[in-house]
Amino acid sequence: MVVLDQLVNGLALGALYALIAAGVAVIFGVVGIVNFAHGELYMLGAYLFYLAHVTFGLPYIPGLVVTIAGMAAFGALIQLVVVRRIVHRPWQSQLVATLGLSILFLNFIAVAVGTDPRRAFTSLTRATLSVGSVSLSYQRVALIVVTLVAFAALHQYVRHSRMGKAMRAVSQNREACVTVGVDVQHVAMVTFAIAAALAGLAAALYAPLVTITPTMGQLLIIKAFVVVIIGGFGRLDATVAAALGLGVAESFVIQYVSATYVDVFAFIIMLGVLLARPHGLFDRRVGI
């Protein structure tokens, strides 16, 4: 059944959107910065995964763990070196800083590693699962399942752990947190680490399904922004829901309308949401 096929396609696509958009949302919510370089964090994660899994020959799970850990560390590093210096500057400087990082990462990889497309197969990509008429690789099953599990875990973390509560508090009222003595910079660093780790997870799950090139993050970041806007600017759960919804919607647009205009479709939805409900589809609540 075509509907079922496209639903599965949409969920897989939406899972990818969710992992990237959640990183953008959480950074925006807690640190207040729009991270234009997030697509490149995903790209760097893919190359890191390639290094671990293909060049060094690590099996899949260790490769995945290495990628997530490596990206988390890199995210923290970015916060430490660049973000701390721009966090008190006007949003325009922050914007340009992340744009600059995006250009730097992309072109550095393009020159240092080359633009030849690479592939990082796993044993899961080659094995296909057939349920009725739906045929998909185990890798895609893993993508959907692991993403949902990851978000459930993140949800628990943000709700119940000490750092999670600190993150929520900072996203709701930064000044009050500073007054009370919360180490805001530390919270920001953890946030960046988590966001980068999500991008790394996305890379380890999705890169085996596509080719790895330096520009692979560019088309994604725009979709991530659209999802964040629809979900309401930084709300974690809403962002995930919006991402899955957009993925599924896009698949159905491709099936019943046209593949050419599918990118524009995302923007039209976004513009529609903005015009009707300027604070996003979900209710107006501050903080992640």
């Binding site: 400087s93 800083a97 730097l104």
Partner: protein, 340 residues
């Protein structure tokens, strides 16, 4: 508040004013005369590209610098203007002047129309809204093949030519195009300068600083916002008409996102809200990649690193940083020479 004391011009000694005037005149002379001496098509081409970026940056600055909002829509206006005049010339055999005027009018009208829903949005939503508008314009220019020939581009755009009354002139050499570009850029420069110093400019600043307060004081905020967007769009359209005639073809790549990003970088690192900022920014960021052709492979990575460093250490842009430095220097000199 007395403007005399607050003005940066107060207290500047005469010899500085003289030197400044001399420098400006020298600059103007160089700008007008150098193509005749240098005889280089390549340099003229780069200069023309810089001037076009300058016009776009000056127009975008009205919204980004003076009004304080972020807009990605500018290349869309540039493209709309370029296609308007190109289509009129190729299909309706309109003269360049007619096409040029249409290229100013159409983007202006489009800007006025989209401004109304867009300016209702908050800062980030406005930026994304303009991005959405720009992406839609880009996709349309690629896919509406009957009109634009899509990615095969619209070739055969006739050169810049003015046939009004006794005046009968067609641009032939690259130097001719340079002078046209210089004229356009100068006109835009003076328009922006005039607007900035007028009541309109002050109102824009008021809106940027606190639009709620401005509205409470009776300012029709939306109308001023529309004006900023529309003037910028008109200038972009004019630049588009020129560029189409100069390249003799119009492509959808002119509307692509990288141009938005380049313009934003030009503004934020040149210095937004100032007059010279967009000018210097355009020169540096056109000249820099051409200069870096030497380091062809690492060119763009270096460019990215420079941008990050500049945003970290020169947050207000190069021009503001330079004028701050100059002022600090002057203050120190004055303090030293003051009677004890």
């Amino acid at each position: 508040m007395s403007t005399a004391l607050a003005s940066p011009r107060a207290g500047r000694p005469t010899h500085v004013a003289v030197a400044r005037r001399g420098a400006v005149m020298a600059l103007v002379a160089v700008l007008i005369v150098w193509p005749l001496g240098a005889q280089s098509d390549y340099l003229a081409g780069v200069a023309i590209t810089a001037l076009v970026f300058m016009i776009l940056a000056l127009g975008l600055d009205l919204v980004v610098g003076r009004l304080g909002v972020l807009s990605f829509a500018h290349p869309a206006f540039f493209g709309i203007g370029a296609y308007t005049s190109a289509l009129l010339a190729v299909h309706a055999h309109a003269s360049f002047v007619v096409g040029f005027l249409a290229a100013i009018a159409v983007p202006t009208v489009v800007a006025l129309i989209v401004a109304v829903p867009l300016f209702r949005l908050s800062l980030h939503a406005f930026a994304m809204g303009t991005l959405g508008f720009a992406q839609i314009a880009w996709v349309v220019s690629i896919n509406w093949e009957q009109l634009t020939r899509g990615l095969l581009c619209l070739p055969g755009v006739p050169p810049v030519a003015v046939h009004i009354g006794p005046l009968d002139w067609t641009a032939v050499s690259l130097t001719d195009y340079y002078y046209v570009a210089l004229g356009l850029a100068t006109a835009c420069f003076f328009i922006v300068r005039r607007l900035g110093r007028s009541r309109i400019g002050r109102t824009w600043t008021a809106i940027r600083d606190d639009d709620v307060l401005a509205a409470a004081n009776g300012v029709p905020v939306l109308r001023y916002q529309m004006l900023a967007l529309a003037v910028g769009a008109g200038m972009a359209g004019a630049a588009g008409a020129f560029f189409g005639a100069y390249s003799s073809l119009v492509c959808p790549t002119n509307l692509a996102l990288p141009y938005s990003i380049n313009l934003i970088i030009i503004l934020f690192l040149g210095g937004r809200g100032t007059l010279i900022g967009p000018v210097i920014g355009a020169i540096i960021f056109t000249g820099l990649p051409e200069y870096l052709r030497v380091a062809q492979t690492w060119q763009l990575a270096i460019y990215g690193a420079l941008i990050v460093l500049a945003s970290m250490y020169l947050p207000e842009g190069i021009v503001t940083w330079a004028t701050d430095r100059a002022r600090a220097l002057r203050m120190r000199r004055l303090a030293r020479s003051a009677p004890r």
